[in-house]
Chain length 247, copies 2
């Protein structure tokens, strides 16, 4: 019998090898790295078992010696790139600064790996690097005097906010991939449609917004910084009300 029985299991608890049999030609890490390389280059939809196998140069079905199911490959991919977080030895003591730094790292990570937001909504979050990340965040939040549950909520909100922001920014590009026309054409057509709709007069507030917007072009960088700052501030207990964010 090839492969293990179909029992519930966590990929992280599955040993890569047991010692019996011939030496594997590759490692689980090789497979995951290849998948990440493909996803970075051609999008997550380009990651197929056949393509990954071709990338590392083995037969398709050989992959199943390293990864039991494709969904596990996704989890492994998320964990692999989560290893790119650079977490110092010790938190600085300023939880706002630490969490802000984390948010910026997350954003940079998602820029490097645009497929992350989409895959993360499915992946589970018990991976070694996810635990490492969570542990670090909790350490950063030690000075913050709120219940533990609220700290978890804060961490989730920061992550979720970064994900939503990046996913939104990249929706156009990601969507354009694989379409039979160019991204610029797509943009133009959608823009024209939107203008036409707004010109119909059915959306007065939206029209007002669009009239105002070109005058004040949005600085994505500034908006991101402000959003994170506001979010963090909303979790600070009133006692700490240093009121960092202006408006």
């Amino acid at each position: 019998m090839a492969g293990r029985a179909a029992e519930p299991e966590v990929i992280w608890a599955r040993p890569e090898r047991t010692g019996r049999g011939p030496r594997p030609a590759y490692s689980r890490r090789d497979v995951v790295d290849a998948a990440v390389r493909i996803a970075d280059a051609d999008g997550i939809d380009a990651v197929s078992m056949r393509r990954v196998a071709a990338e590392i140069g083995c037969g398709t079905m050989s992959l199943y010696n390293y990864v039991p199911r494709k969904e596990d490959l996704y989890e492994l991919m998320v964990d692999a790139v989560s290893g790119e977080y650079e977490l110092p030895e010790e938190p600085s003591g300023d939880w706002r600064a630490d969490m802000t730094a984390i948010a910026y790292q997350s954003r940079a990570l998602m820029y490097r790996h645009p497929w992350l937001p989409r895959v993360m909504t499915t992946a589970y979050g018990l991976s070694p690097n996810a635990l490492r990340f969570l542990e670090w965040c909790l350490g950063c939040l030690t000075p913050l005097d709120v219940p533990a549950g609220l700290k978890m909520q804060l961490i989730a909100m920061v992550n979720g906010t970064v994900m939503a922001t990046v996913a939104n920014e990249q929706a156009v590009a990601e969507r354009a991939r694989g379409l039979p026309w160019s991204e610029a054409e797509e943009q133009a057509v959608r823009g024209a449609y939107l203008m036409g709709q707004v010109a119909s007069g059915r959306y007065p507030h939206l029209a007002g917004l669009l009239a105002e917007a070109p005058a004040a072009p949005v600085d994505a960088e500034e908006i991101f910084a402000m959003t994170i700052a506001r979010l963090l501030e909303s979790f600070a207990p009133p006692a700490e009300a240093a009121r960092v964010t202006g408006a």
Copy 2:
């Protein structure tokens, strides 16, 4: 030649029929409703062109007379269920109350249609009902004295937060669908793994949190309410600093 040329287009600008040729046996709405029915019942992955065609009782390829590409079907699905928002004639004047009500409606919508969060991250947001929704939100935010760009950010954040919350809640259930073992088994195995990891001592903060958590079981309802309240408050200008949220 069947079908139109492969030019960039917005599905919303495409007329359903042109008047020439035989009467269509179904409507675009019929197709979309069938797809929504399937997604509600068996998950978004069960929505295939063949399945949808079978649901309404026509040949597979006939669907392409109503929907040019499958991705457009997703957009149509999002728009269709977005029609379920019940938006009053006029905003109440209390933007916090109005936006809170919107958040609760969004959450209810995503409970009714668990596939929404996943599909929404791809779908574009220029659909008629999306514009209607956006227009309504902007109307609610009229009393809020902040730049227009910030209002957009607020709306996006509220939506994103609801999406992230619901997606997180349903990740377990959605993931379990189609797995060869039960959701309970999956939960048990993952829980056991987590406990084992935490018991290793490598995650002291996380251990502390887990030790504390069972004592204070989380009330999802309360957490949701508080999260939205905090989020809204973080956008209120200091002048309005009524400090609604305690901590």
